[in-house]
């Protein structure tokens, strides 16, 4: 089981290393979002500082959605899921393998985005441990939900618009928790940062269980 998960994840990451879509296109795009936020908010320093946590997670949400679409795009090369379904890899490993590779890509995205937000929005980190924990928690939740809702929308014709519509309402609580946790870590407000981080892990756990149960079913049904 673990071998299959690592096999699939390694395959995805090798494709990513070759194609450089995640770091080559999605990361710069999310950096652009962070800059554009400043344009929108008229580079109003206090406002950007207060909003830093929230804007960061909106950028990650946007990048995460694109990475989720990309993760399934490469499986439906010929326009259908046939080979992915015919794959002798067990369905649970497919789900966890895809989630693992998406998780690593989202973490890479966050590693690029965090310094940018800290510099551009001129905020200091008061609690590094909380910042990292929240970042990881968000990445786990984003990747697991992304793979679950991604497979539901991926095989369909209108997937590029349907996936965000299905995914973002589900990720709204994660965005909420992530923002509050980051604001605590950045010392912008005294809030229960660790409780928000654990909430994100709970959401990720719930979706992992649901994903393990429903992934095989959804893979067949589109």
């Amino acid at each position: 089981m673990l071998a299959e998960v690592l096999l699939l994840a390694r395959k995805d990451l090798r494709i990513e290393r070759r194609a450089k879509v995640a770091l080559g296109q999605v990361a710069p795009l999310t950096l652009l979002i962070v800059v554009v936020f400043a344009f929108a908010l008229d580079a109003n320093a206090p406002l950007l500082e207060i909003g830093a946590g929230g804007l960061y997670w909106v950028a990650v949400l946007y990048g995460g959605t694109l990475l989720t679409q990309r993760a399934f795009e490469l499986e439906t090369e010929g326009g259908n899921f046939d080979d992915f379904r015919m794959s002798p890899i067990k369905v649970h490993s497919l789900f966890l393998g895809k989630s693992l590779s998406l998780f690593i890509q989202i973490c890479a995205l966050e590693l690029v985005l965090t310094p940018a937000v800290l510099l551009l929005y001129d905020v200091q980190v008061t609690d590094w441990l909380l910042l990292i924990a929240a970042g990881v928690a968000g990445a786990v939740a984003f990747s697991v939900c992304g793979v679950l809702w991604g497979v539901m929308a991926a095989g369909l014709r209108v997937r590029s618009t349907l996936l965000p519509l299905l995914l973002i309402p589900v990720l709204a609580p994660v965005l909420l928790a992530g923002s509050r946790a980051f604001e605590t870590a950045l010392g912008i407000r005294a809030d229960a940062g660790w409780s928000w981080t654990s909430l994100m892990f709970v959401i990720a756990a719930v979706h992992t269980v649901v994903g393990l149960a429903a992934f095989g079913f959804l893979l067949e049904e589109n």
Binding site: L162, L166, V170, P173, R180, L199, V202
Partner: protein, 256 residues
Amino acid sequence: MDDSKMTATPLTRVLGILGIVAGVLMAVLGLFVSPPDVVQGEAVRMLYLHVPSIWIAYGSFVLTSVSSLLFLVRSRRREDGGRHYDRMAGSAAEVGVVFTGLTLITGMLWGKVTWGTYWQWDARLTTTVLLFVTYLGYLALRRLPADPIVRGRRAAVMALISFINVPIVHYSVDWWRTLHQKASLSVGRRPEITGEMYWTLLYSALTVTIVGAWLIVHRYRVIRLEEIRDEENLKMLISSRRHERPTGSAADGEVS
């Protein structure tokens, strides 16, 4: 299930008339008979719309989730492959979305009068708007043309996952807002509902339930008619394909 070509039958006619009469009575009761609130004055009359709509919206989504579960569990045993449950889930969801929309409209109007702003990020309304978008996604998923069973299964799984999500959304939004409200003075406490107001509210809830039920039954039948039409088109397509002539065939060039 009767195969009535129209969606009206004796049952729905009775239900429909009842709904209209009850509706008129509700308007009279809610707008004129029941007293204004000591604090909110006339604005409290929004209560008789807002609370029942939330009630029916959540009720419809519960019905959708229960039907979806039954569809997934029972589809093998029923001779119609559980499609009855799938249709129920679809019709309840759509009616639920309509009432969630009404909840938002009445909620915002009421908020404007009592709190002075249309949108005050109050926990309940924020959760409702997320629910609204979630089930709009569900309806979008149902609209994609596919084999009824395949579409049904896909929609059923989404309904169940979305239902599991409701408490998560509810909890996180509640927690977020209570933190916030503790900081600022909490305004707009619940008006005490006693006496005439209480009965009016109860009556309104009953009326809206009748209207909701009437809508779900009709919407269910529309889905059933759509399925009959699709099946007949399918039979027509199958027979036309079987009679394809060897040379230039009538149905040429479609996807193999």
